[in-house]
Amino acid sequence: MGTESVQPSLIQSVVKLTQLDKLLGLGRANSLWPMTFGLACCAIEMMATGASRFDLARFGAEVFRPSPRQCDVMIVAGTINHKMAPAVKTLYDQMPEPKWVIAMGNCAISGGPFVFKGQYGIVEGADKFLPVDVYVPGCPPRPEALIEGILHLEEKITGSRRWPRVEAK
C-alpha cells in the first residue's frame, strides 16, 4: 500500500460554519466508521463496545472497516511501540480526510504503565505523532468510556452534544 502525505486538518482550516457545513458535520458525526485496528488489551474492550451489551451500532459507528481507506476514525487502542509506530502513521496517512483519532487507554495517551526510566520500546503516547482528538483514559477503559469518547468526538464535529451527560456516581 502506498503512502500519501495529506496535509493535516486541510479540510478543517477551509471550513467555515454554514448551514451546509452543519449538515455535513451532522452526517459525518453520525457515521463514524472506525478502523478494525486493535493493538493490545484495549482492543478487547473496543470489541466489547461493539458487542451486544453496549452496542456502538446505535450511533452508527459499528461499521468497523478493515481498510484504512474507508475509515473516518482511528481508535488507537493499546500500546504503540517503536516498531509499530511507522505502521500506525502509515495507516493514518492512508485514511482520507476528514479523519479523527481517538486515543483509547492509558498506553495510547501517554504510554501508560509501560513508561519507566530507561524504557527502550514504546512511544509515550499516540499524540507524539498523531493529532489525537479525544482521549479516553483507563486501563483499559470501560466500554461506556469509549462510547463517551465517540460522543465527545461527535460533539467536536457538530459543535453541540445531543446526548445527556452522565455523571458517575
Binding site: 517503536h82 516498531k83 530507561g118 524504557q119 527502550y120 520500546g121
Partner: protein
C-alpha cells in the same frame, strides 16, 4: 523412572569437575567473587544463598517443590546440542531458552528448559559463555522450536548461536543494534 534414565544419559555430556572448563566455572561460583558481587547488589542475604550452592555438582537433582524443576545440568557450551539430542530422544520438549547476564562474572548463562509431556520431569540445562565472545552452537536443528527462543536471546543479550539460520531481530525493530536486557544497557 524417566528422571533416573535421563540423569544417567545426561551425565555423559555434563560438565565434569576434573576438566579445566569446569574449574573455570567453579571459580565463577567461588565465594570471594560472589561476595564481591553481593557487595555491589545485595549485601545481606546473597552470600548465604550462594554458600549453599557452593559445591554445586554439574548434574544435580533439585528439590522440585522448592525450585520448580527436577534436574539441573551444567554443560560446556559445545555440548548443548548433544544434550538436546539426548533429551529429544526421550521425547522431551523445549519450553524456553533464555540468557542471564552475570555482569560481575563477565559471563552469560544460557538456560534451556525442557519438560516432558508423558511424565512430569523438568530438566534445566545451563551453560556459560564468556561475555566477550558470546558464542555457542544452536540447537534449532534438533528442536525447531528453539529457533525463535534463540533469536529472542540474541535480541536481548547479543548471544550468538552459531549455525542458526536467521539471527535477525525478532522482537526488536529490524534495525535494532542494542541488546536491552544486558545489565549495562542504557538507552
Amino acid at each position: 523412572m524417566l528422571l533416573d534414565t535421563i540423569k544417567k544419559e545426561l551425565a555423559a555430556v555434563a560438565l565434569s569437575t576434573e576438566e579445566e572448563v569446569s574449574a573455570e566455572d567453579l571459580a565463577a561460583t567461588e565465594t570471594p567473587e560472589t561476595v564481591e558481587r553481593a557487595e555491589g547488589e545485595a549485601p545481606a542475604e546473597a552470600p548465604e544463598g550462594k554458600e549453599e550452592e557452593k559445591p554445586r555438582p554439574p548434574i544435580m537433582e533439585t528439590d522440585y517443590r522448592a525450585k520448580g524443576f527436577h534436574l539441573d545440568v551444567q554443560v560446556a557450551p559445545d555440548k548443548v546440542v548433544e544434550a538436546a539430542k539426548i533429551l529429544y530422544k526421550e521425547n522431551f520438549f523445549i519450553e524456553a531458552v533464555t540468557g542471564v547476564d552475570w555482569l560481575k562474572e563477565e559471563e552469560f548463562e544460557v538456560v534451556y528448559d525442557y519438560n516432558n509431556m508423558a511424565e512430569l520431569c523438568r530438566v534445566v540445562v545451563r551453560t556459560r559463555v564468556p561475555r566477550s565472545t558470546p558464542q555457542l552452537p544452536t540447537i534449532s536443528e534438533v528442536y525447531a522450536g528453539a529457533n525463535w527462543h534463540e533469536r529472542e536471546t540474541h535480541d536481548f543479550f547479543g548471544i550468538e548461536f552459531m549455525g542458526h539460520p536467521d539471527l535477525s531481530p525478532l522482537l526488536l525493530p529490524e534495525d535494532a543494534d542494542f541488546h536491552p536486557l544486558l545489565k549495562d544497557y542504557t538507552p
